[in-house]
Amino acid sequence: MSRPRRFTRATLDWLPWLEPLAESELTERHYDGLVQRPRAKNPYFRLLSDDPDVLGARTRADLEIFHNTVDGLPRAERELAATTASRVNGCIYCASVHSAFTSHYSKRADDVDRLLADGVTADLGERWNAVVEASAALTATPPAIGPHHIARLRAAGLDDVAIVDVINAAGFFAWANRLMLSLGEPELPESADE
């Protein structure tokens, strides 16, 4: 196995640097933090279940931010915001998962690949450019988002509920990227050919 050396939409593995709790050690409190029982198979979530209540809050916020699509920003563009944050922070694993979702929901694989290959200055059309620029500005430390980013999003057709979705989705990946980057690392599956 080897570490990926570029951003990709391919499925990657993730290996923890600390040995997580074994599945046999999990209690109902751990399962409540995991929210979805199949997540017990995943070493990332099992490691985070050392602080099960915080993991539960993290996971329930995550699901609401990305899956509550009754109004606001379409799922594809929430995933675009997540991919952008991951591209800026350099989380190859998170970028692989969320670029695949962006591509799946938008059917714009070529644009997604340009974002992965060329970074956040890739020209993806005005609406996506506006989402990427605002997400990248939010991801900087200190955050560099300002009223002009909001104005560009509105001009591109986003209403204010959708703009809050951009802030939530890109902001959430400030959280997710740091956990994935600092508690383990991505690996190319045996079958993958970079």
Binding site: D50, R60, A61, E64, G90, L138, N168, R178, L179
Partner: protein, 190 residues
Amino acid sequence: MDVVSILSGAGDDIAGLRDHRRVAVEQTQLAYDLLLESGDGSSMSRLERWAVAAFVALLHADARAADHYLGGVREVSADVALVVVRLAGEGAAAGPYGSYPAGPLSVEDVAGPDLAIDSGAAAALGDRLSAALRHAHRLVLHPRDAAPAWLEDLAIAGWDRPGIVTLSQLVSFLAYQLRLVAGLRALQEA
């Protein structure tokens, strides 16, 4: 009112927009309550939690959030608060920087500083909190440089696995919270 609303200073109109994702608002507040207010003192003490939070807010150049978290530090130790402010000033930088695995992405590598903790600061903070601030500086500003050695540095300073998980969650959650605050302020001003 939730802490994101307080720190952002956003009004009722913004709160109404956020209410479209009510579960996210509630769970973000719950994460704050768990990590800062009611956290398990055996994995990470209250002083450690608030000192790390203040340091992270200062690295994000968020004066309002820094005042909030420094207030919690001063309730326990004015000396630690002073050292946190000084180290955050010395460690201030623009992120994210860092290196990729050697290869095609190496052209995007960006150099940046590591936090230096002098002997005076180390004496005031102790081993555990010194290591926590060093880790927080790394995680906030150059997370893509992460390596197993970062976790070994924490372990050497007395952090066990549950403590490392909680510290990682605290720093990473705050990176999210402070971006919600920054984004909502921009929306309020637009």
